[in-house]
């Protein structure tokens, strides 16, 4: 008898996993590869999509080898993926355009702020269920299209394609199928939650060409067959990783919820066939859509930083050698010693949605040791869960009675106990901690008829561990109050005008920044309320410094007619961005560009200070 398996791929934020499951939903083999995290500037997080694809190409055969199985034994492949992370690629060559912009990345905070002031902004949430935030794909696409001159036009012609990572991998596995599933599409801000199709009003609001978008398909259906790496495997399901975990936890009925603890943490509550709009900072999202059946919706509480705080503790503070050692360290002390860490590294997500918030360590005294800090790191995950559960309860009008958990952090017993304590409900872990992968496998197996129905899958769910609350209520209340006080300290840290890059960055960015600054002054000149004389002085000064630096550093003769300043300046910007800047991008190495950027900034500064002190 030959065994038959379902293959699942979990393309996550830090790694990609490939797992084979058997008919009872038991893990048969598991292989994993990490990919590099690029942090080119504060707040920026990028992945190399080509590296992710290379990793997958190695993982699929490895998973088969580890199980001693062949491709014919695989009934179908299900893909779960990090959501929102934005990949653009060239339709013809298949090469990624720049690095993928990761969901945690906050570079679009100014884009988002501008968009929020536009008249259409109020409709956005109603149409797509999501608040305007840096987290989602549309602002990231907008930023990428703005960044490279000509890209918008190419996207309009369908030469440049967008996808989240499941689209990217399916494109590569099938040799050119450009699709996404509803759950991933529901995180772009471009899909209408009710019609489940790309929405003209949203496309127009973000000015994103429809031609670059993938076709939206159900979460479970056979999209196509692999033609490379391990050819002949049916790709039978795709879901965002958090939706996959909802499926893997068999939360098929309204009212069922789970929380997955990985890089970030995400609580999803099944709300059945109706999208429920939250009044408490939850997102409305698609939970899954099985074949032709109507979509099932979910409310989601997204927490940006939980496992990644542990990683930061390990990699940036170097207080531990591996993530699990945080438990060992935290157990060296009895409590947090009065210390709280609010990890607003990417602003705060649910339920606050403060993009401008940044992290704090509060309550520091000379008493605090690294053991207390370790505890505060774990407690941060507990309290952030509490805030999200409170908001979810308020929205649903029901009180959560137990919390089903999964993900890498559930291996941490102290953390699980903390969560039970702060929520005051039992915390239950199922038999497969890799629930994201299991969910993708379930969806694929269902899609090809390997499993007949949802009820059969439910019977596979078993409790592997349980933690009961033990914290005395007064202590819980006091600690929660402290936490909330610490959270308030993070609000309003980033001020909108503040946007300076470190000096000496890329010449292209330096010039683009200069152009934006000048454009803003032109805009101010049209403002009736502005002191136009002052603005004009400032504008001519800036233009003069810009022109001088361009001539001295880039040896590019620049002539700006001061009689028709506005048009001359705009024309200069247009020309320089479509010719000189592209030439610099093409011909210079990154380090040369940085060197020039530094020289340009210095030269420009010299002229500006000369204007001020004649």
């Amino acid at each position: 008898m030959t065994h038959r398996y379902v293959m699942s791929v979990d393309q996550g934020t830090t790694s990609t996993r490939c797992i084979l499951f058997d008919a009872r939903g038991r893990l048969v083999s598991v292989v994993q590869r990490e990919h590099q995290q690029h942090f080119p500037r504060p707040g920026w997080v990028e992945h190399d999509a080509a590296e992710i694809w290379r990793n997958l190409a190695r993982l699929m055969p490895e998973a088969l080898t580890q199980a001693g199985a062949s491709a014919e034994q695989v009934v179908g492949l299900g893909i779960a993926n990090q959501r929102e992370t934005t990949v653009l690629w060239d339709r013809r060559t298949g090469a990624p355009i720049g690095r993928a912009v990761v969901w945690q990345d906050t570079r679009t905070d100014r884009v988002v702020e501008q968009l929020a002031r536009e008249p259409g902004a109020k409709r956005v949430r109603e149409l797509c269920g999501l608040p305007l935030a840096t987290y989602f794909s549309a602002p990231k696409i907008r930023w990428m299209l703005d960044q490279t001159p000509g890209l918008q036009e190419r996207a309009e012609r369908g030469e440049v394609l967008f996808g989240t990572t499941e689209s990217w991998l399916i494109w590569n596995l099938t040799g050119g199928l450009h699709i996404t599933d509803v759950t991933n599409a529901s995180r772009t801000m471009l899909m209408n939650l009710r019609t489940l199709s790309w929405d003209d009003e949203l496309l127009e609001f973000f000015d994103i060409p429809r031609a670059m978008l993938p076709e939206i398909r159900s979460s479970t259906e056979v999209y196509g067959t692999t033609t490379t790496v391990v050819p002949g495997i049916r790709i039978a399901a795709a879901l965002g990783d958090q939706q996959a975990a909802l499926f893997g936890q068999t939360c098929f009925a309204p009212g069922e919820a789970k929380c997955t603890y990985g890089t970030g943490s995400f609580l999803l509550l099944n709300t059945g066939h109706t999208p429920v709009l939250s009044a408490h900072g939850m997102l409305t999202t698609v939970g899954f859509k099985i074949g032709d059946e109507p979509a099932v919706y979910a409310l989601e509480g997204s927490i940006a930083v939980t496992g990644s705080l542990v990683q930061w503790f390990r990699d940036s503070l170097e207080l531990i050698g591996t993530a699990p050692e945080i438990e060992t360290l935290a157990r060296t002390v009895r409590d947090n010693g009065g210390c709280y860490i609010v990890p607003a590294f990417s602003g705060l997500f649910a339920p606050h949605w403060h993009s401008e918030a940044r992290g704090v360590i509060a309550g520091l005294t000379s008493y605090i040791t690294k053991g207390h800090l370790a505890r505060a790191v774990l407690e941060a995950t507990g309290w952030q869960t509490r805030e999200v559960v409170d908001a979810m309860n308020a929205d649903s009008g029901l009180a959560l009675s137990t919390l089903k958990v999964d993900g890498g952090m559930t291996a941490n017993n102290l953390l699980m106990q903390i969560i039970a304590d702060v929520l005051d409900v039992p915390v239950v872990r199922p038999m497969v901690a890799e629930t994201v992968s299991l969910g993708a496998a379930y969806a694929a197996g269902l899609s090809v008829g390997y499993w007949p129905d949802l009820e059969g899958l439910r019977r596979n769910w078993h409790r592997a561990g349980q933690w009961l609350p033990t914290m005395p209520p007064p202590r819980r209340a006091a600690e929660y109050a402290n936490w909330r006080q610490a959270v308030e300290l993070t609000f309003g840290w980033m001020r909108p005008t503040e946007a300076a890059r470190p000096t000496g960055t890329d010449i292209v960015d330096v010039i683009l920044d200069d152009h934006r600054r000048i454009e803003n002054l032109l805009r101010e000149l049209r403002n009736d309320d502005a002191d136009r004389a002052v603005v004009l002085l400032e504008l001519t000064g800036q233009v003069e410094a810009h022109v001088a630096a361009t001539e001295r550093i880039l040896h590019s003769p620049t002539d700006i007619d001061s009689d028709d300043l506005e048009n001359a300046v705009l024309q200069h910007i247009r020309e320089e961005e479509s010719t000189l800047l592209n030439e610099l991008r093409r011909t210079l190495s990154p380090s040369d560009r940085t060197a020039l950027g530094r020289a340009f900034t210095a030269e420009r500064g010299k002229h500006l200070s000369a204007q001020r002190s004649p």
């Binding site: 009872r24 699990p324 060992t328 291996a411 017993n413 038999m431 901690a433 078993h462 592997a464 349980q466």
Partner: protein, 255 residues
Amino acid sequence: MPGPIQSIERAAAILRLLARGSGKLGVGEIAESLELAKATAHGILRTLQGVGFVEQDRDTGKYQLGAALLHLGTSYLDVNELRSRAINWADALAARSGEAVRIGSPLDGRVLVVHHVFRPDDSLQTLDVGALLPLHATALGKVLLAYDTTLVAALRGTDIAAYTRRTLSSLTAIKRALAGVREAGWASELGEMTPGEAGIAAPIRGHGGIVVGALGISGAVERLMDSHGSPKATLLGHVRDAARAVSRDLGASRW
């Protein structure tokens, strides 16, 4: 007796070199200082990197002493690390065997339960992570004893408690049983701690094969054992496969 092994001497010299001064050296610098061919130095460095004794800086490509050296004194893996690395296979073992799974590591002459997966029947069970079990009366403990002579030595002179009629309660009997465990590569327990309860366990090995813990299932004698009191072959197979899978993930390549 053969003479000293040259490559081990060279490896020791490389470690001494890295322990000096700034502690970050390129392969060329190392080869030069020790008058080795660059390829030889590189081969040794790669091996040392494999066991965690040296690390290579991602950006500069230079080598330095590895974190594993700092923890040489504590040869057992951090218990929380062990749980994290084993959790997937422990779950799969519980699902396959239908029994509760535990992982044990030695602590103060006993077995510390590091991880516990419930029996997958959704009955009421409580986590006993953190509990301490006797070494000589449990399958987990016997595995740990079998591969750690200092643990056995520590048993001497202690009061070896007889929990049931079947508990091995003399050092001689224990040692005989441990020889059997080493021979077989697994241990079992048959009503030795609690009447009617049985256990089957196998070693979890780390780099180079060093035993870092024990993984096993436990449950009613009639479910785990055949009529001769030996572990049922399929269950034993599942336990050994799971322990091997964890060991492979921890870098024990030969087991």
